[in-house]
């Protein structure tokens, strides 16, 4: 396959960025999208140019590192996958592909396509945990039975990989889906009840502080979430928030 690439290049967070055009040949349809970028980078290195920086690690859709905005969509045209799981067979010979970083005020660019998502970590630090020490003296795991449905829905919420696609796609750059996934995981479990009020208040507060926008229920986040985190979690978080406020 022959492809025309338009890639966002930016040296660091102080410099101005721009779209740079590249042409690339001999791309196999079985390659993953990131492998296509590997091929481009090898080419750039051999030509004596600076390779394109992008975040990636596990390349199997679970670490949440990869974060490209491809042809106007986070993680590209397919649903339910991350960029590393996107294969070139989804494109046609001669296609032009635009590749940009995940854009949001709260995700400043580090270089090229690499952004700083540490705001997500700071939100988690504000309450995304259950305050229990490692003692080895906790009660036996089977002491509290948990309904299968509750355990399953807690699990579904907990599968969020923190990639930031929800923020990147949202016109308000809202992190509601991300935050609600954690809140919802714990609110579905008896272990999470003790600190429920404090948790939701702190996390929402931190989210606002970090400069993420508000939710206007467009539902784009749910569509683009590679893990299919449901927008119902946002409703759940809103209920939790209201409950805590009252």
């Amino acid at each position: 396959m022959k492809l025309f690439l338009k890639i966002w290049r930016q040296n660091n967070n102080k410099s101005k960025g721009k779209i740079v055009k590249y042409q690339i040949n001999d791309i196999s349809p079985d390659m993953s999208f990131l492998e296509m970028l590997d091929v481009l980078n090898e080419k750039l290195i051999y030509e004596g140019n600076d390779p394109v920086s992008f975040d990636h690690d596990c390349r199997e859709g679970i670490c949440g590192s990869c974060s490209l905005f491809i042809n106007g969509r986070p993680h590209g045209p397919e649903r339910g996958i991350t960029t590393c799981q996107l294969h070139m067979r989804k494109f046609k010979d001669g296609d032009t592909i635009t590749i940009e970083p995940f854009r949001a005020n709260s995700f400043p660019i580090i270089k090229d396509l690499v952004v700083d998502r540490s705001a997500f970590d700071r939100i988690q630090q504000s309450g995304g945990y259950i305050s229990i020490n490692t003692s080895g003296n906790t009660q036996d795991a089977n002491t509290i039975p948990i309904k299968k449905e509750d355990a399953d829905s807690a699990f579904d919420a907990a599968t969020c990989i923190g990639c930031g696609a929800c923020v990147a796609t949202c016109k308000n750059a809202s992190a509601m889906l991300f935050v609600s996934a954690k809140v919802s995981q714990f609110s579905n479990l008896p272990q999470g009840q003790v600190e429920a009020n404090q948790r939701v208040l702190n996390m929402v507060n931190k989210m606002d502080e970090e400069g993420f926008g508000n939710c206007t229920n467009t539902g784009a986040c749910e569509v683009e979430c590679p893990k299919g985190i449901s927008i119902k979690n946002i409703a759940k978080m809103n209920r939790e928030f209201l409950k805590a406020k009252l």
């Binding site: 040296n11 079985d30 600076d50 390349r59 590192s65 294969h87 970590d121 714990f186």
Partner: protein, 785 residues
């Protein structure tokens, strides 16, 4: 040093002459040292015994066997002279005790490679007493640090996977000041996140006869009797606590309809003890540990350094006192001081280039401490996982694992007839059209007791054996089928019965069965379909073994301390628990056991001597020198401006490793591998091209330093594999196999851990041995038939 041959010949005259003051007979060797001091070594030999005894002994006048004795004395002399030569090169003093140990070791190694320097045996410092009490007794007797002193002690933790995150969180909870480092943009992205199948624990919730002892036994046996008994027992002992702890943290494990925790079965065991969260157990456990870390970060007890890479460890007065790290965003080198350094940086599977590891996974932290004095143990023990998606092209950057849990319900087969296999390879025959009697379910045929659930090393080799004979099922001939059709039908029938459907049609059965399978392995099937573009519910999956985990790693004692005082290694980065092969769902168990329940206590034993040290200053010459060395290394790489990219070398190294140090190894290949890696390393330093600058975000520079370390480890890896002339677990030497192709283990000569000491170059590494003692387990040939 040199050996004085005086008194070497036993004649009646000499015997009289050499009679010592106490009246004992001695055959003394004098070892002269450089400082002109001499060590006198006393040896005696009973004619009935084969070996030398170093206690003094009286010899009667007129010993009639003196000729035989003289022969033995002269061979002993040769041995001692060789040992002296080895010691001379290291400038260490040879004491009679050390000499005695060296001589014992030289007996063992004499049938191995003659050029290897072998040094004294290593002591694991496992506590005495009955196995079941060791950990309790040890915990009760080690030194502790008081809460008020913990506040003044800093600990650096490298890596935030299951081991690193759990250790950081627990150490911080205990009151220590933790500095945690990861190269990823967030601690949550460490590669433990990708573990799929589950975590073992001896809870016996299923009532199928599980116990701590059984988990311990299975792990030792699965590891082919090459792991340390005391460590493995401790692991089994704390396994139950891990589940309790994780549930308390809100980890959403799978549950049954009664609301209790569900289990499944993994390879190499006959009970169901694996706890899981669909195919994302690693993710859920890591997020649990990450949340525990977050709580401590919020409290200020952990300072998190993301996008930071450890470049070197700094030793002051022989103790680990800090690290040099590189901020990957700014490219700046930073000095960090601490009272102890914990390495939790995972395994080195990426040495093969293609593996199931994440792209960034690397050996550098472990290798850097190795170069500063930490012994590296069993580097050749690598796990090749049987169920991965096969390689499809040269551009491939990584391999994707299909969880072992799939072998619960999938059956592995290849065509029985070569002609059929050929047609399948050419794409002219669909596996669905091959009738049952023309299929070879080779694992069920060869290992009827365990069938598709044999341990990983065995399943991998069996797949290779079939493919090597030409029965492979994709265009490269390197794939076998993993077939779910039987399970889909079985589950479908069960479901139809539950639903009260009478005489269900095949379609209904399939539909119902597919639903059950989807619920169990949905995300794995989806992952497979995305990559391969085939529906695994309808067409059997194609799988092939791939590098997955490394059992070898930094040598640690029972306290998980390396041979550098104050430097610890936990999780996959150390070597201790899995022997020559790891059982499925045990990596998560070990990572969390080390981090939550072992290290936080054992580290106190060391730190208790450090309570009045005060803050570690980083302006010392040690830090300065280390930083300078690293800066020079980085400058060399950047200024090299050679011909080839870093990946070019990494791929080449990977090919050598896979072809010559992979699933099966032989002497010729390994010797070639050593040479080829040496040449490749030389070429790398001459011709590598690293773009960009040091003081900026530069992914390729980071990669270059990692590959540079892999190029050194590769040689040690091959050397270790060459030395171990036996087949055990994941280490399969072609020269040592039965007619049926099963491994032949050599307990007489190789029941030890190979711990390598760095001597300036991998080729000069010195071998130390930790002899493995099995007090509670009888050594048997592993049989899964």
């Amino acid at each position: 040093m040199y050996l004085c041959t005086m008194g070497l010949y036993l004649t009646e005259k000499h015997i009289k002459y050499k009679k010592n003051g106490g009246g004992d007979y001695v055959s003394p060797f004098f070892i002269y040292h450089k400082n002109k001091k001499r060590t006198k070594v006393f040896c005696s030999l009973k004619i009935s015994q084969k070996d030398w005894d170093f206690k003094s002994k009286e010899v009667t006048k007129g010993d009639s066997n003196y000729k035989t004795k003289n022969k033995k004395i002269s061979s002993l002399k040769t041995k001692i002279e060789k040992i002296i030569r080895n010691y001379d090169s290291t400038n260490e003093l040879l004491t009679p005790e050390k000499l005695k140990i060296e001589l014992e070791v030289s007996k063992v190694i004499s049938n191995g490679n003659k050029n290897i320097n072998t040094k004294s045996t290593l002591d694991s410092k496992s506590p005495n007493g009955p196995l079941a009490n060791k950990w309790t007794t040890h915990k009760g007797s080690i030194n502790l640090v008081s809460p008020s002193n913990k506040r003044n002690i800093d600990i650096i933790v490298i890596g935030t996977g299951l081991a690193g995150a759990s250790a950081s969180a627990t150490l911080a909870e205990l009151g220590y000041n933790v500095k945690a480092f990861c190269f990823q943009d967030s601690p949550r992205r460490a590669h433990s996140i990708a573990a799929q199948g589950g975590i073992n624990a001896a809870k016996n919730y299923q009532g199928d006869g599980d116990s701590i002892y059984r988990l311990f036994y299975d792990t030792i046996k699965g590891g082919d009797y090459r792991s340390r008994e005391a460590n493995v027992y401790r692991l089994a002992e704390v396994s139950g606590n891990i589940i309790d702890q994780c549930v308390a943290q809100g980890v959403p494990f799978a549950r049954d309809y009664g609301g209790l925790l569900d289990n499944r079965s993994f390879g190499g065991v006959l009970v169901s003890r694996t706890f899981y969260a669909k195919g994302q157990t690693g993710q859920q456990l890591l997020l649990g540990a990450y949340s525990a870390m977050n709580r401590q970060i919020a409290r200020g007890k952990i300072k998190m350094y993301s996008r930071h890479e450890m470049m070197d460890i700094v030793k002051v007065d022989g103790k680990a006192r800090g690290i040099i790290a590189r901020n990957l965003i700014t490219g700046k080198l930073e000095r960090h001081g601490a009272h102890a350094v914990v390495i939790a940086s995972g395994g080195y599977g990426n040495i093969f280039y293609l593996s199931t590891n994440a792209m960034g996974s690397n050996v550098s932290a472990a290798w850097k401490i190795h170069k500063k004095g930490a012994f590296f143990a069993n580097p050749c023990f690598t796990q090749i996982h049987p169920t991965c998606i096969p390689v499809s092209g040269d551009y491939q950057s990584k391999l994707t694992l299909m969880s072992e849990s799939l072998r619960n319900d999938g059956r592995i087969w290849v065509p029985k007839e070569l002609s059929d296999a050929k047609l399948v390879q050419e794409g002219k025959l669909s596996p669905v059209d091959i009738p049952e009697d023309k299929r070879d379910y080779y694992l069920e045929r060869r290992y009827p007791a365990f069938g598709n659930l044999v341990p990983r090393d065995i399943a991998s080799r069996a797949a290779k054996e079939r493919c090597d004979k030409g029965y492979g099922v994709n265009k490269t001939g390197e794939a076998v089928f993993l077939d779910f059709s039987h399970s889909i039908i079985r589950y479908g029938k069960e479901k139809a019965k539950v639903k009260g459907i009478d005489g269900p049609s095949d379609e209904i059965i399939f539909e119902l069965g597919e639903k059950v399978v989807k619920q169990k392995y949905g995300n794995l099937f989806q992952m497979y379909e995305k990559i391969v573009d085939e529906n695994p519910y309808k067409v059997p999956m194609k799988i092939y073994p791939a590098v997955h985990y490394t059992m070898g790693g930094v040598w640690v004692d029972y306290n998980l301390m390396t041979t550098i005082p104050g430097c610890f290694a936990i999780g996959e980065a150390n070597f201790s628990d899995h022997g020559a092969n790891r059982l499925g769902a045990s990596a998560l168990m070990q990572g969390l056991a080390d981090g939550y329940f072992v290290l936080p206590y054992t580290i106190g034993d060391y730190l208790s001597n450090d309570i009045s040290t005060g803050e570690i200053k980083t302006d010392s010459s040690e830090f300065e020198n280390s930083e300078r060395d690293i800066r020079q290394q980085l400058e060399r790489l950047i200024n090299n401006k050679g011909k080839h990219s870093v990946d070019y070398y990494h791929k080449k190294l990977g090919k050598i490793m896979w072809n010559k140090c992979g699933m099966s190894r032989n002497e010729k290949d390994l010797k070639e591998a050593i040479k080829e890696i040496q040449l490749l390393r030389e070429d790398f330093h001459k011709n590598v091209n690293v773009s960009g600058r040091i003081g900026e975000y530069n992914e390729h520079l980071a990669k270059a330093t990692r590959v540079s370390d892999f190029l050194e480890l590769g040689e040690l890896f091959a050397k270790d594999a060459l030395e171990r002339t036996e087949s055990c677990g994941g280490h399969f030497r072609e020269e040592y196999q039965t007619k049926e192709g099963d491994a032949i283990r050599d307990d007489k000569n190789f029941k030890f851990v190979s711990a390598w000491e760095y001597k300036g170059d991998p080729s000069k590494a010195t071998l130390h041995k930790e002899q493995l003692k099995y007090e509670d387990i009888e050594l048997k040939t592993r049989s899964y038939k």
